[in-house]
């Protein structure tokens, strides 16, 4: 399930060429007008491809019938677009109905998906979209996109119109869902933090061209140029800490006494770890397991070393020694 992307569409997108691995979330991001949405919409041919090919699993999207292509691709977008005149069940069952599934099978699938996206699998079936909040509607939108078990999902700023708190929950829930379901996802956003959080791979675009394609950590550690560096933000050093967690470190032995006043878990992000250190005025904090037993500790200089550029790694231990006393 590989998606290949050499595409050329007027000046909007030019010479864009990359591949998305199966089960991966690939985020397209860039400033307004960079062509990310255009690129996304070329996959299901909502926008026509002027030149070049997009292939899914080796099959050119232009060779498939339009409706057949689209019925095999899940599409979620910012304005949600649920059918107001159909119940939630029928909304989710839109494509399955087109494919001729039986009513029972559709209902079961709808229930299953409602549970997956965090809604009531029984009570919400017969309700209408108008009765739900924006965040809930988009969950239904995601369920609808997944109903016929498509190979690929396209998501165009799906959480853009939703308030920040609900958005955070939706992002987390989607990541959790994705771990279970493992679909290939192409995700467009203009929010760098969302991209860093959601993307297995991130493609930064500018003026219709691909500037850099890398994982979140690589992007933050080594931005390809000035533009990317500014785009990811001047605080990219700190941002890197968000994408790493305590478990990425080798732990030092646990400490006791005053320094043991607070503790971290293995899945705590380094960003939070550092923040705790600053808040408590410590340079070393214990790590505990689920039962609260100490299993080691984290030191400031270990964190610093992990995210430092390779050359300064040698110099770091010397600096750390002098500051930890």
């Amino acid at each position: 399930m590989v998606k290949r992307y050499p595409g050329r569409d007027r000046p909007a997108v030019e010479g864009l060429s990359f591949a998305v691995a199966p089960g991966e979330i690939c985020v397209l991001i860039g400033p307004s007008g960079c062509g990310k949405t255009t690129a996304l919409k070329m996959v299901n041919r909502l926008i026509s491809i002027s030149d070049g090919d997009i292939t899914i699993d080796g099959q050119n999207v232009r060779s498939l019938g339009l409706t057949q292509l689209r019925r095999g691709i899940g599409y979620v977008f910012q304005q949600i677009g649920l059918f107001p005149h159909m119940s939630v069940e029928h909304n989710i069952g839109s494509v399955p109905r087109l494919l001729g599934w039986s009513k029972t099978r559709i209902r079961e699938r709808a229930s299953e998906l409602l549970e997956l996206v965090g809604l009531d699998p029984v009570g919400d079936l017969k309700r209408y979209p108008g009765e739900f909040s924006g965040g809930q509607q988009q969950r239904i939108g995601v369920a609808r996109a997944m109903a016929a078990d498509p190979q690929i999902m396209l998501m165009d700023e799906p959480f853009g119109a939703i308030d920040p708190i609900a958005r955070d929950r939706l992002q987390n829930d989607f990541l959790r869902l994705h771990r279970q379901v493992r679909k290939t996802v192409i995700f467009v956003t203009h929010d760098i933090d969302e991209a860093l959080k959601m993307g297995d791979k991130i493609a930064i675009m500018r003026d219709g061209q691909l500037v850099q394609l890398a994982t979140a950590d690589e992007l933050l550690a080594s931005p390809a140029d000035e533009f990317v560096a500014r785009f990811v933000g001047e605080d990219r050093g700190l941002k890197r800490l968000r994408v790493r967690s305590v478990r990425d470190l080798e732990l030092d032995p646990a400490v006791s006494g005053d320094a043991a006043v607070t503790s971290l878990m293995t899945d705590t992000s380094l960003h939070t770890a550092l923040s705790s250190m600053l808040a408590e005025g410590l340079t070393q904090i214990n790590v505990v397991d689920e039962d609260g037993r100490p299993i080691g500790s984290v030191r400031f200089d270990a964190i610093a070393r992990l995210v430092a550029p390779p050359e300064t790694a040698a110099a770091a231990p010397a600096a750390a020694e002098s500051s930890s006393r």
Binding site: Q68, G72, I80
Partner: protein, 246 residues
Amino acid sequence: MTVALHLAPAAGGPVIPNFGGASNCVVQNHQFCMSWFTHNFNSVFKPALIQHIELTAIAVGCGMAIAFAAAIFAYKQSWFGTPFSLLSAFLYTIPSLALFELLVQVTGINRFTAEIGLVSYTLLILFRNTLTGLQGVPPAVIEASRAMGYTPRQTLFRVEIPLATPAIMAGVRIATVTTISLATVAAYIGAGGLGKLIFDAIQSGFKTEFVAAGAMAIALAIIADILLVLIQRAITPWSRHRVQTF
């Protein structure tokens, strides 16, 4: 070719129709004689009422068929909207009696002529409402529909038309009530219905008859309106949860 009606009451006072059993009230031609009304309901009023309903139903049905097809065509081919709109607006502005009289010169005095006239009057409102309803479907919903792999025809029938229903039904309501009103005038050219009773009564000066027929026409219109509102609510369950603008 027109029906010759003398409009001034006959000299020497109104002619009291002898439908049998002329009570005191009738003889003195009071405003409204209840007993006469109930006594003669089945023989006089009911057939007229049924005729009237028939006239209306046929007119609105045909008008809907034409206007609906035209609106869908105009929705897909936008150039068509303005010409058809102008045509139906033109027809609508012609005063009814005048239109009926002109049509009579062509197709004679009969129900068919009346129906042609009545249908013409429904076209404007039905066309406009259907088209506006279709154009009011949120673009996001249409985009979702396309992206999911609905063919244009499937989008039209499963998404766009259902969502245009509130506007369409509002148009049907107005068209129906308007047609009931116009059908009374159509009686003048031989269409029958409650209008005929009114014209008869004007000729004879028998008050009860036209108060009753007039009141029945009004009641019919109001009842039809309410019924159509109920039908509209029934077929658009999703809009119960939001503010009704129609």
